[in-house]
């Protein structure tokens, strides 16, 4: 796939990502903070799980895709794969940071330490809230990646003629 094709493909998928992120995010926040009952063991600190786990999963998925993209880049020398991989990496780092931050803030009130002791285990109280927050984070991250990759194509393709055909960049 050429960078130009990737640019237009990303434009086509972007609105769906933002809408999905907004809708599932709104429902997810309501489920997480208002309708989910207080946990019997961990109290309201359990509500940190609704940002911690989605951030963790999205970060893990992002790093998985970076690895896959790097392999694809090596094997096929595909420019679009290289751009996409570079676009995913910052999101992976950001969600990793959110996961570490919220993980520490979750562990402290529950286990008394900023990092859970090995014997603590992980009482999983999943449900719609968790699923919706994950979907929301994932859609937001996908939107961010698509948006970022479009900027990268613009930056990379500054000298190429196809850029002249984009409405957004025609000189005024």
């Amino acid at each position: 796939m050429s960078p130009a094709a990737l640019y237009h493909l990303a434009a086509r998928w972007l609105p769906a990502c933002w809408v999905l992120a907004a809708v599932s995010g709104t429902l997810g926040v309501a489920m997480s903070l208002v309708f989910t009952p207080t946990d019997g063991q961990q109290g309201d600190a359990m509500r940190i799980a609704f940002v911690h786990l989605p951030a963790l999963w999205v970060a893990g998925a992002a790093w998985g895709m970076v690895a896959a993209g790097a392999v694809l880049d090596r094997l096929r020398n595909e420019r679009a794969a290289r751009l996409l991989t570079r676009a995913i990496a910052p999101s992976g780092a950001l969600y990793t940071f959110v996961a570490l931050w919220s993980g520490a803030l979750w562990s402290k009130p529950v286990h008394g330490e900023w990092w859970p002791p090995p014997e603590a285990g992980h009482a999983a109280a999943t449900g719609w809230a968790l699923a919706l927050m994950t979907l929301s984070f994932a859609a937001w991250a996908a939107g961010a990646v698509l948006h970022r990759v479009r900027s990268m194509v613009l930056e990379d393709e500054r000298d190429n003629a196809w850029a002249l055909q984009l409405d957004e960049v025609n000189p005024r």
Partner: protein, 65 residues
């Protein structure tokens, strides 16, 4: 419904600092990402426009020769 009052909700069963600290950082990270993305696209488009304007200007100089 889980909460009796707004104060009850804000207090988060005594874990307000941890719960809101996590949620606020997550929200801040997502919004910061959006701001950086918009700014980056804006700069990329601006530079591209500038580049096209300069090349167009040079083209006119070339044509005049």
């Amino acid at each position: 419904m889980n909460w009796n009052s707004l104060a009850d909700f804000a207090e988060m069963g005594g874990d307000a600092m941890y719960v809101w600290g996590s949620w606020a950082m997550a929200a801040a990270a997502l919004l910061w990402e959006a701001a950086v993305l918009l700014q980056r696209r804006h700069i990329a488009l601006d530079e591209l426009r500038q580049h096209l304007r300069e090349t167009a200007a040079w083209q006119e100089v070339d044509d005049a020769r």
